[in-house]
Symmetry: C2
C-alpha cells in the first residue's frame, strides 16, 4: 500500500492506493498547527493498515535534498509554527521509507508518469496561482541545486507605460510573481481575469510575462515541454497568448517542437498533486530503481 500527502498551506490531502494510477482513498485535513495537522494525518494512515512507502509533496520552502541533514524539514516560512517542522520525524512511527519533494515537483512528476508530460526526458512544470512555482524533471527526477528552484522571482521586462503597476512581491516588487500571480492580478485590477467584462488586454499583458518565463526556462533548462497549470491558467485563451509571444521572443534561436506541443496544459487536473505524492512513495519502495536525486542518500 502506498501513502501520499499533498501538503499545502491551507489543507493536507492524504491518500492511500495500491498503484500510483489506481483508484485512491483520500481525506482532506485543514492546515492548522503542525501538531494538530500531522496528528490527524498519522491517524488517517494508521486507519488504513501498514504502508509500504510514503510520499510527500509539500509547500515550501522545504529541504528536499536527501543527502542533507535537514532533509524533510520545513525551512523559514511565514506559516506560524511550521518553520523547522520535520516530516521525517512526524512520520517515523509509520515505519516505512519516505520520499519528499516540493508540491510543484510532485505535480510535475505525476504529469511525467501519467499525464501530459509522458515521454519527455526534460519536463518543466509551472503553476500560476497564489504564487508562481516551477519544477524541472530530468528522466523523472526533479532537478535541484542548493535548494529548490525559485523561478517565480525572476525579473521580467516590464514596460512601465503599458503596465504602471509596480508589482506585489514584498521582496522584489515587479518580479514574475509580483506581476502575474493571482494576488498580483487582483492587486492590479481588483478582480481576477475571469471576472473581467473585457479581459483581452489583461490576458495579453499577463501572457506576455509568462511567455518571458517560458523563454527563460527554455534557455536555462532546454526542456522538451513546458506545462502551465494552476488557477490563473484556467483563463480561456491565456495559454495561446503565452505560446504566441514565447515563439516571437525566441525568434527561432533554438529549435523547439511545435509550440502547441511545447507549451501545454497539464492533464491530471486537481489530482496531480496527490498523484505526485504517490509517485514519490513508489520511488522509494524497496526494489525501486534509485535515481540520481537519491545517489547521495
Amino acid at each position: 500500500m502506498l501513502g501520499g500527502i499533498e501538503a499545502g498551506g491551507t489543507k493536507f490531502i492524504c491518500a492511500v492506493a495500491d498503484r500510483t494510477d489506481g483508484p485512491l482513498e483520500k481525506c482532506v485535513i485543514p492546515t492548522t498547527s503542525p501538531d494538530e495537522t500531522l496528528k490527524a494525518v498519522r491517524e488517517f494512515f494508521r486507519g488504513h493498515g501498514v504502508l509500504d512507502a510514503l510520499g510527500i509533496a509539500s509547500f515550501g520552502p522545504v529541504d528536499i535534498d536527501p543527502s542533507s541533514p535537514q532533509f524533510g524539514e520545513m525551512l523559514k516560512t511565514p506559516k506560524p509554527g511550521w518553520t523547522g517542522v520535520s516530516y521525517l520525524d512526524a512520520f517515523e512511527g509509520l515505519d516505512c521509507p519516505i520520499d519528499l519533494d516540493t508540491d510543484v515537483n510532485g505535480a510535475g512528476l505525476a504529469e511525467w508518469r501519467h499525464g501530459a508530460g509522458q515521454g519527455c526526458r526534460t519536463l518543466a512544470y509551472v503553476t500560476v496561482g497564489t504564487g508562481i512555482g516551477t519544477g524541472v524533471l530530468r528522466d523523472g527526477q526533479s532537478l535541484n541545486g542548493a535548494g529548490h528552484y525559485e523561478m517565480g522571482h525572476i525579473r521580467p521586462v516590464r514596460d512601465g507605460e503599458r503596465d504602471p503597476f509596480e508589482g506585489a512581491c514584498p521582496f522584489h516588487g515587479d518580479c514574475l510573481e509580483g506581476l502575474a500571480s493571482g494576488p498580483a492580478i487582483k492587486a492590479r485590477w481588483g478582480m481576477g481575469l475571469n471576472e473581467m467584462a473585457d479581459p483581452g488586454p489583461a490576458i495579453e499583458l499577463i501572457g506576455g510575462y509568462l511567455a518571458q518565463l517560458a523563454l527563460t526556462l527554455t534557455l536555462t533548462h532546454r526542456p522538451d515541454r513546458i506545462l502551465f497549470g494552476g488557477g490563473v491558467m484556467k483563463t480561456p485563451g491565456l495559454i495561446d497568448v503565452i505560446r504566441e509571444q514565447m515563439e516571437s521572443l525566441l525568434a527561432g534561436y533554438v529549435s523547439i517542437p511545435s509550440v502547441r506541443d511545447y507549451i501545454a496544459a497539464p492533464s491530471l487536473g486537481d489530482d496531480a498533486g496527490i498523484t505526485g505524492a504517490l509517485c514519490l512513495a513508489a520511488s522509494v519502495l524497496p526494489g525501486a530503481e534509485a535515481g540520481p536525486r537519491h545517489a547521495g542518500k
Copy 2:
C-alpha cells in the same frame, strides 16, 4: 595517456597528459576547413602514441547528448563547412573512448575538479567574451536538456534612458549577449572596457546586466557558486559590481553564501579549456565511474 582537444572557432588546442592536472604537451592548430583542421589534430595525437581516452570541449552548437544518434556532431553553425561534422567519425581511427561537451561545460568541469569550483555540488560557470556562455555542473556532470543551455540569450531588464543602445544580437537585439558581450561593448562605445579613459559608468552598466544573469542563474539552478570568466571579465572592478548588484536584486530572498564566495573568478586561467578536455577524457577511461550524463550510453 589522455588526449584533450579544446575546439574553438579560431583555433584547436590539442594536448596529451598522463593526468588531468599533470604537465601537458600541447599544440595549437588554426581552425580552417574541417578536413584540414581535423587531419592536423589526428597527426598530433598519432605522433604521441596510443591514447587511452580522448576528451573534446568544443565550440557550439554541438550535440552533447551521449544517448542521441547525433552525439558528437556540430549542429547548424555559421562557421563555413562545419555544420554536420562528426567528431566521433573524425577520431574513430584513434580507437579509444571519446567524451565530448561544450567548451564552457568543459571549462566548468576543469574548475570543479582542480580550480575555483572545488567542493561545489552545483557549480555554474559563465564566460563573457565574444559571446556569453553558461554551463551548470551537478556533482561534476554537466546538466543539459534537449540541448546545451543558451543563457546568453536571456532578456534582461534594460532602462532605455540610461542605455539607449538597442543591442547587437542578430536574433534578439537586447538579450544579454546583445548588450554585454565583448562585441556588444565595442558596438556601443567603439572600444573595450579596458580602453576607456573613464570606464566607471560602463562597468556599472555591464555589471548590472551580468548581475541580472547571476540572479536568474540563482533562481533557475540554485548553484553553490557562480564563476565568471572570459575576456570581458578581465576588466578590474567588474566582478565587484556584479556582486553588489546581484545581492541588491536578490533582496535576501534565497540564502546564498557570502557574495564574495558565491560570485568568484575562475582560477585556472587560459588552461581551463584544455584541462576540461582532459577531464572529459578521464571520465571515459575504462573503469571510470559513469555519471548520470552517461546513463543512457
